[in-house]
Subunit: 263 residues, 2 copies
């Protein structure tokens, strides 16, 4: 156990074979004691799924360049839970970082994202957490610029107080570092995934469907994540898990008029 | 195709064998044309997972009491997408209802909930949506009171304008109807699931873990969902998918100071 160095838990949703997690490990290694727990395969679009109906396994491995890490059959949220409870036996974690995701988690994608679920999971218990995503879905994505951004954000986040129960959703344009105009603190752009269900027939003539789609964003004012990204800025959105639509509490007050007839 | 009756899509996360979905079907049948799409097995705690790496299947079945419905291998979110795109071929859906879940989706459970993911999925595209959950995890839960509540809420929701991109998280106490004190429009109680990882050994001496836990709620002022439920009220929380922590935008503005040196 190291003393006086921040304890940083690294996880992702693309699994241990993804280049993104090793880019993130490189970025955070100078900043603390690093523990790595990753799913044993891709867990994209898992949202905030957790594993309750099958047992969780976790085993230690070593990366080709000699870094120890843990692999589990669980989801990104499970990685955080296993990290806290099993690997670190409730030692205080100073920061959870997740990613670097191969692909954007801006706008509505935040809700489907396993990368961000891991960060949100940490924020439930008041652990500062940051999810990093690069706007490049390719397995061979170039993480050079993303590593520079992650290094900067992690260093600063460790030096500043982090508001309780808040995490950050960091999305990084696909660009060499020279093409990135800066960092914007943003709000979530309103949008949704419009699905195109591709219909096929199997060898027995039965239909099946592939879920594909594209993100449709609206409300892209200059403070929205999507707008920042379109203008080649890194988007950093502070995220809370309270999903109450406070502005609409009064719109539904009429439902309180219900009375049962008690006899 | 029926005319002039609201088109209501019913789904859940407990699958077609759960009593809760048939209780919900009974509650909504008087209120419109009802289309039922349910997972082919339990999909609890799936969060907002979607299915991208295996093909989706959907087939029509008939319930023992003669009601036609669709089963799919997908998640609750997929049910909504398949309903819109495949079954209803983009007909306008007036209301999506999800549940009645066997178990609470109050506080932090909202984020893990497949029931609520289906409702949130609908709200992305501006379809009014309501998730119903009964505070009874039993397969043999009594849905008598929950059906009365669902009937009331659905009838009222169809008669009132629904704010765009908002859905409702309805949690119903485990109680006969006489024991329910009324309905409260609430905010999400702050809380988290504290995990107790149960460690076991398999037949080969290797460890595995079962994820169990209990909800720890804080901040239970009288407007919070958990407080309403504790006082035997139905909790109805308006939910938005914008997770931006607006209050904390300024806390992170210091990160915008980053400048790369361009040569």
């Amino acid at each position: 156990m190291e003393k006086d160095r921040p304890l940083i838990l690294v996880t992702n949703d693309d699994g241990f074979e993804a280049a993104g997690i090793w880019a993130l490990v490189e970025a955070v290694l100078p900043h603390g004691e690093v523990v790595i727990i990753t799913p044993d395969g891709p867990r994209s679009a898992m949202g905030h799924a957790i594993t309750m109906n099958v047992p969780l396994r976790i085993r230690e491995f070593e990366s080709p360049n000699g870094i120890k890490y843990y692999r589990t059959n669980g989801t990104p949220s499970d990685c955080v839970k296993l990290g806290q409870r099993v690997v670190l036996r409730d030692r205080k974690i100073d920061l959870v970082v997740s990613g670097i995701n191969h692909g954007s988690n801006s706008s509505a994608s935040l809700l489907y994202s396993g990368t961000m679920a891991a960060a949100i999971e940490a924020s439930f218990e008041g652990i500062p957490a940051i999810g990093f995503s690069l706007l490049d879905y390719s397995e061979k994505a170039d993480f050079t610029a993303a590593k520079i951004i992650a290094d900067y954000v992690v260093k600063k986040a460790l030096a500043h107080p982090f508001p309780e129960h808040i995490c950050l959703n960091v999305n990084i344009p696909k660009s060499p570092i020279e093409g990135i105009n800066g960092i914007k603190i943003t709000k979530q752009a309103h949008g949704y995934w419009h699905e195109d269900m591709v219909e096929r027939e199997d060898a027995f003539g039965r239909p099946y469907y592939w879920l594909t789609g594209h993100l449709v964003t609206k409300d892209c004012d200059e403070n929205a994540c999507q707008c920042a990204l379109d203008n080649h800025y890194v988007s950093i959105q502070p995220v809370q898990f309270d999903m109450t639509a406070y502005k609409h509490i009064n719109d539904f007050k009429y439902l309180e008029q219900w009375k049962i007839t008690k006899e």
